[in-house]
Symmetry: C2
Subunit: 140 residues, 2 copies
DNA sequence: AGTGCTGGTCTCTTTTTGAGACTATCACCC
DNA sequence: GGGTGATAGTCTCAAAAAGAGACCAGCACT
């Protein structure tokens, strides 16, 4: 674990140098992670890691996403190479979305964070509650 | 790896049930990950995982973030329990931000994704380039 | 001919983000 | 004793992103 911290230091300097240079696209974190930052990107990737899904299925699976955002998020995931989109000439035509190899590889890394979120959801909620309560009564 | 896929299926169903029920806050992915989705949250967490930093230092470390967003992102990270904020009554007063235990734990999970981003930055860029090129010339 | 399914797009409104001017306090310098 | 610089922010205005939901087009079924 300490060794990863050592690696981290140099990595951070790389990030800094790159953003410092002006070209943000050269910073992997900004460039890659930002593409995953959509409000439902993680969830959709998780769904597609399970199995391929069609547009309408994804919509039902993640009901609080608007069609517009679902379209756009899938488009972005496809553009970044995580998702494959295939149109079947049925009547009416159906569209199937699936994870590419790159997408599956990315999801393997993302999964750690999803797992953490699940394990620590309560801790985060408690932190929020405590913070808000303290904020309302700052007069110590 | 396959066993994690099995776990995933049931997990996804939990997500679905929870968003389906209407209360999005009960879905760990939406609730936790969304708090990390800020454009620079990952980068700031990475910086603070290295060592504590002061406000101005963070601003210089991540130059393309506005003061306003830096303030707000740090506030959000603090509220979710990842970051500790300490004011020192120097003249002028200085404020130091550091990772809490929870934040460090979260970063351990996040780090996989950061590492992946670094390793696969080129692949993502190529995917984008290929997608855009194909999009301009769709007539097959 | 009307209804439903498919996978979207278009418009309008609200929310989020970005850029950057402005605040307040105190040490230092002249 | 007044201007300058450092600290860590806040405030306002403009632009970008996201959400809600109406609308579109093609075809099967009735």
């Amino acid at each position: 674990m300490d060794s990863s911290l050592v690696k981290l230091r140099s990595r951070l300097e790389v990030y800094k140098a790159m953003t410092d240079g002006g070209n943000i696209a050269d910073c992997p974190v900004r460039d890659v992670i930002q593409g995953l930052n959509g409000k439902s990107s993680s969830l959709l990737t998780a769904a597609l890691a399970e199995q391929p899904y069609r547009f309408g299925e994804l919509r039902r699976l993640v009901p609080d996403i608007s069609q517009r955002m679902l379209t756009q998020t899938l488009y972005d995931l496809q553009r970044d190479g995580y998702v494959h989109r295939e149109v079947f000439p049925t009547k009416p035509p159906s569209v199937e979305y699936s994870l590419t190899e790159l997408g599956r590889s990315m999801f393997d890394a993302l999964q750690h964070l999803l797992q953490w979120a699940e394990n620590n959801h309560d801790a985060v909620r408690e932190a929020r509650a405590g913070f808000d309560a303290a904020g309302l009564n700052p007069g110590g």
